[in-house]
């Protein structure tokens, strides 16, 4: 293990920035080069990167992070309704309020560890979800979801024109590529902060807590504030992601807080590689990409794809694969979940590393083979 140098980190950041900003170009060939999907990549990337700061560094598995996502969305929509359609205040308020929620939930949940922590966060998530549907309807608008209306005050914007206004950044309309680039900049900032945390003494201490918390205490650290800080940071990431969702589509519903949504971010993180810098982003990208393809697919499309097969085989193949696409996407997701945990606990990043090592060994062994052969000839 080599302590990474500061200069390397700047190179990583430069490459990362370039790759993210040119995403519309290089993702077009795989059919993902349009703003809606790109935006989703960025938003869920932020969500997963933030989740990884908690789960990847401290090992605390939260099953309630969707709460902060929901809080972020609701706050953003309220900011659009009450203040202005400008996205900056929405993002700032959402992130801060999610942080406040994270302080409260984290403070209580972190009094326990292991599975008790998971269940505490799950309990808070269920409480928030149930309340958003019932008593908090004045704030959340219950099942319908919170949306913009013509009667919203929007005190900073002044009187609205015809129809519902759209979100802007100081007058720049946040639809299409502008929206994506706003999310992309947020992603770059989010990644930068995550990189700094990973490379900081603070990050090392979090890893040490994951490795042996008891020892940390006898080493002179008060571990709880460290855990709470990590929890709040990751909660704020989720809040940011939630607000960005509301920017794309100014609507917030309680289903965003459901624990299956919390489960999804866990999956993204472990699929990509828990505790790695880029893994969660890969995970989010892979899941959202395939969700997009798979859930849009139907039997007709499948027949087209498999039309090269003989008819009887084509029908069988379509019947089987049909279970996994469209509405069956969740089945694929569940299977993916199991396969990753069973066979690749290190996620995609670990997989790449292994494949890399395997190739290198292959090259080396063939190299030595030739060397021995050459030696034998002599």
């Amino acid at each position: 293990m080599i302590v990474p140098s500061i200069r390397n980190d700047w190179v990583i950041m430069a490459i990362f920035t370039a790759v993210v900003l040119t995403a519309p170009l290089w993702l077009t060939p795989v059919g993902a080069g349009y703003p809606d999907l790109l935006q989703k990549f960025a938003i869920f990337g932020i969500f997963a990167i933030g989740f990884n700061i908690l789960f990847g560094l401290t090992g605390y598995l939260s099953f309630g992070h969707a709460v902060f996502l929901g809080v972020g969305s609701y706050t953003a929509v309220w900011s659009f309704k009450l203040l202005t359609m400008n996205v900056l205040p929405a993002v700032i308020f959402a992130t801060l309020l999610a942080g406040v929620f994270a302080v409260v939930i984290g403070y209580v949940s972190l009094r326990r560890s292991g599975i008790y922590f998971s269940i505490l966060t799950l309990a808070f998530a269920q409480m928030s979800y149930n309340m958003a549907y019932s008593v908090l309807t004045p704030i959340t608008n219950g099942e319908t979801g919170l949306q913009l209306t013509m009667n919203d005050p929007r005190i900073l914007d002044g009187p609205a024109g015809q129809g519902l206004p759209s979100t802007t950044l100081f007058g720049l309309d946040m639809s299409g590529y502008a929206g994506f680039y706003f999310c992309a900049v947020m992603l770059i900032i989010a990644f930068f902060i995550s990189l700094r945390i990973f490379r900081s003494p603070f990050g090392l201490k979090l890893l040490a807590i994951k490795s042996n918390q008891t020892r940390m205490k006898y080493t002179g650290f008060n571990t709880r504030p460290y855990l709470l800080t990590a929890f709040v940071i990751s909660g704020m990431y989720a809040g940011l992601a939630g607000s960005l969702m509301a920017i794309t589509d100014p609507l917030a519903g309680a289903e965003r807080m459901q624990w299956t949504a919390s489960g999804e971010v866990v999956l993204m993180t472990i699929l990509g590689g828990t505790g790695t810098l880029l893994g969660p982003l890969f995970g989010a990208g892979i899941i959202k990409y395939f969700e997009n393809i798979f859930s849009a697919m139907n039997d007709g499309r499948l027949h087209e794809i498999f039309s090269f097969l003989p008819d009887w085989l084509e029908n069988i193949v379509v019947a089987i694969t049909g279970e996994f696409v469209g509405d069956g996407w969740h089945l694929t997701l569940g299977l993916l979940f199991m396969i990753v945990v069973i066979f690749l606990p290190g996620g995609v990043v670990e997989g790449i590393r292994r494949a890399n090592g395997f190739l290198r060994r292959l090259v080396q062994s063939s190299g030595t083979n030739t060397a021995t052969l050459a030696a034998e000839k002599e």
């Binding site: 500061i6 700094r196 003494p201 080493t219």
Partner: protein
């Protein structure tokens, strides 16, 4: 001579078992104080009461004149009392170097510091300290290894390095050489002697009489939860009570 640690009237029972009974012990500054005794005599219980892992039923543990009872482990650490564990309590998932950097960071950052934007790579001072100690312990070659993958003996030495890097006022060593090969033991004795020259106060719990008599300035003998004798190595060597209780009458 000033007293660093003063244990007064400490009692501890587990269920009906009297683990410690009316322990009184003063540790002088700069001295190496060994606590010996047969298995189950209460040596580890006594250490645990000092560092906050256990809370005694009654009595006080005063460090630098301050009562430590009821304080959190991390507070006791920062007061200057550091324990080296008998079973290696390291960070198995971190590198050896990082294992030693962590306690060094604790010494500098205190119980909590949010330095999330500092770079670890810029912590040259901390790193140099850690490398220096690891060199001392003969672990230089391993510094980038996974700590969890090391041999048990190496883990013990790493554990020791983690304690030493904090330069504590009082170091509590729980059988520092248990499970080490003879030449490793000698090496550790040499190292502990060198620390002694620097004036670090130590409490050592040890089975190995060779280690005890080469290091200790004073020895206390614990049997069935009570201190039955205290004195210089020579005094202890000649004490018939000790030979009776601890050595079953055999000559030392």
């Amino acid at each position: 001579m000033s007293i660093v640690l003063s244990i007064k009237n400490v009692d501890k029972t587990f269920g009906g078992l009297h683990a410690l009974g009316d322990i009184n012990l003063d540790i002088e500054e700069g001295k190496t104080h060994a606590i010996i005794g047969p298995n189950g005599a209460g040596k580890s219980t006594l250490l645990n009461c000092c560092i906050g892992r256990l809370i005694p039923d009654s009595g006080t543990v005063e460090f630098d004149g301050k009562n430590m009872i009821g304080m959190q482990p991390h507070e006791i650490n920062h007061a200057g009392m550091v324990r080296v564990f008998q079973t290696p309590e390291i960070f198995p998932d971190l590198s050896v170097l990082q294992n030693v950097m962590i306690p060094a960071l604790a010494k500098r950052d205190g119980t909590f510091k949010f330095n999330a934007f500092g770079s670890l790579a810029a912590e040259k001072g901390i790193e140099a300290d850690a490398v220096h100690i690891l060199e001392d312990m003969g672990l230089k070659a391993h510094i980038h290894k996974h700590a969890g993958s090391m041999s048990r003996g190496d883990k013990r030495r790493l554990e020791l390095a983690m304690g030493l890097v904090q330069h504590p006022r009082l170091l509590l060593l729980d059988e520092p050489t248990a499970g080490m090969a003879r030449h490793d033991t000698n090496r550790t004795i040499d190292l502990l002697k060198r620390i002694k020259e620097r004036g670090m106060t130590k409490i050592i719990i040890e089975h190995d009489m060779h280690v005890v008599f080469s290091l200790a300035d004073r020895i206390s003998v614990l049997a069935q939860g009570r201190i039955i004798a205290s004195g210089t190595p020579d005094e202890i060597r000649g004490n018939p009570k000790v030979q009776e209780a601890y050595l079953g009458g055999a000559e030392l």
